[in-house]
Structures are given as C-alpha cells and as structure tokens.
Symmetry: C2
Subunit: 197 residues, 2 copies
C-alpha cells in the first residue's frame, strides 16, 4: 500500500490490499515513524535533544466554521513535503533526517526518496548541519543509520540511468545498525555520538 | 486612541474594527507569514540559510481514496502546534522562531503565545539554539525581533498573575526593529549577524 507521503504500509499479506487510511501495524510492533516519535519523546523527556517530526503537509481547500465549535476541514489534499520529516537540535548542532521503511529484503528502492528532499539534504550539509537517513528493512527487522553524504552518490548514479536502489549489503557496510531497544526504541543519537561528538 | 510612536498606522480608518477571526490584510500588503515565507525563499535561493515554515498541524479523521485519483481528506481538524512555526540552519547554528502579528498598537498580548511554545523555546535555548520571536504591530506597520530569553520574564510575570501583555515601548527598547525591504522583506538574518556572528 502506498501512502501519499511516500511511506509504505505494513499489510500482513503483501498481495492483500486493505482499503484503509491508516497503516496496519497489527502484530508487527510499531512503524518506524511511531518508533522514532517515541524515541524523540524520550529524548525530550530526558532533556537530551529537541527533535520533532514536522506535520504532514496538507493543502486545505475547504473549511467549515460551525457556530460554537471547532473549524472542520472538509476538503484537503496531501502535499509533497519540501524538506525532510524530522529536524531539531542536539548538543548545539542542527539535526535533520528522513525515515524510510521498505519491505524489500535485498535493497532500498530510491523511489522512497524525492529530488527536493535530496536538494534539502544537500543544503543542510552545506550549511553545517548533520543530515542522515534512517532506513528500516521491515521484513528483516533491521534499522540502519546512513549519512546523507553516503546517499548522494547512489542518487546521482540513478539520475544518470544507473541502478534505482541501494543494495542491502552496501547499507550494512556503509551505514550503522541501530538496534531496537525498549524505551529509546531507535537510539540514533548513539550513532551521532560515535560519529560527530 | 493612543499612538505611542507617531501615526504610522496603515489602516484607512483605525477606529473601525472588523469582526473577523483572520488577519485583515486587504490593502495592507502581505501578512507577516507571507513576508517571512518569501524571505526564507530568498535566503534559500541566495544560499544564505535553510529555514522553513513547518506545515500547519492537522488531525486527519477521514480520508477518501477515489480510484485513479489523489486521496481526498474529507474530515480533519486543526491541532495546536507543539513547537514554533519556523526552524532551520544558519551559519551552522540551529535557528528556531515564532512569528506573531497583532493589531494592538500599545502592547503585544501574550495570549498570542502558548505554554508549549514557551517550553519548546526554553528547550531550544538550553540546547544551544538561537531562538526568537518576530512580532509585527500590523496597524503601526512595524516589525520587531525579540530574543526568546527576553520574552520569558514577561511570560513568567503573567503566570504569576501579572500583566498579560508586553508594552509596545518595551519591545521597541528590548527588541530590534526589522525594516521592511523589497526582496528580502523581513531580513531577520541581519539582526542575527549583529547579535551572534
């Protein structure tokens, strides 16, 4: 199932599409997004970092203002995000990343990423921010941290007509595995500490 | 009618209040939000900074997926933002701010700001980010930069039962005026350069 924000749902049987708007995470633990939101919440509570997910961009077309009650959005559309989904501050540094999940077991399809996200990531790197991708191979149950700088060559190669994905094995080699924990589910600051601090 | 700093009012008839919830920008040029969005766009094009407005947070309740066309959000509600509206990176530093417009001529009502925004701003300051408010007195046609640290005492005073606004004159004294320009309409990086770089 493809969602407007480019994320893939986690349908229990890949052939069987369920006509629903929410991702299906029955018996699968949480989605990467939920894990990261919980992680960020824990970081905030522990006063370690201030990192938030940006709201889903929505083009609002029609709003109803009933008397004495909250405004109701009656017509709106999903817009493509012009940046990555997460940003904030850690140890005084600007942090910016995107989280992507794939059911693919052998490679990470670059179709998960958009040109303007790449543009944004390059700008962030250029201005001295720390920029990366968190990639989850949901079928394998493995989550990796990949620096944006390591993503760019694959993106360029694809644009030049090359391979449209990053092989799993190269993500294992070039990235850093993030083991799933209980409270801080996707402890990516741990990787940042090793790499930058 | 009290004009503390000369009659710079842009309203054709200052006494005539319009009973509406949205800012009145008829014949007034652009809203502060539009000005800042244009400014950020210019900064990005000039490769000076990477600062974006976060999308309006919306709680999506019902989505329709018509065949062969884009998903339509049929029911959604505005949510209160948990952070400030703008953030990004400038000269390697994390930047975070909120923009507020008031038609009030003599003070800035603190009702424009929410507790969780204050909490967020304090967290940002604590972690080494640069955090501030851009306040426009739309009737006076004046826009000010106010460091978050200078806002906090007013907020605390209000919580202790004190004054529910910041007097205009104190914003003039403690803040920094941002003069409106053509291309970079609200050049707040200019103030940052003076203060931090």
């Amino acid at each position: 199932m493809n969602y407007p924000n480019g994320k893939k749902g986690r349908s229990p049987s890949p052939g069987k599409k369920r006509p629903q708007s929410k991702p299906d995470f029955s018996n699968r633990g949480m989605t990467l997004e939920e894990d990261i939101n919980q992680t960020n919440k824990a970081y905030l509570e522990l006063n370690r970092a201030v990192i938030h997910k940006k709201p889903t961009p929505v083009q609002i077309v029609n709003v109803d203002f009933p008397k004495r009650s909250a405004a109701v959005i009656k017509e709106a559309y999903f817009k493509q995000a012009s940046t990555t989904d997460y940003n904030g501050i850690y140890k005084g540094r600007y942090i910016d990343f995107e989280a992507k999940e794939t059911k693919n077991k052998t490679s990470f399809p670059l179709a998960n990423v958009h040109q303007h996200q790449i543009d944004h990531m390059k700008q962030v790197c250029e201005h001295g921010g720390i920029c990366f991708l968190i990639i989850r191979f949901s079928t394998l149950g493995e989550t990796y941290f990949l620096e944006a700088e390591k993503l760019f060559p694959y993106w360029e190669r694809q644009k030049d007509g090359g391979r449209k994905s990053i092989p799993y094995q190269e993500i294992v080699t070039k990235g850093y595995i993030i083991s799933l924990k209980y409270h801080i589910r996707v402890d990516y600051l741990h990787v940042l500490d090793d790499l930058y601090f």
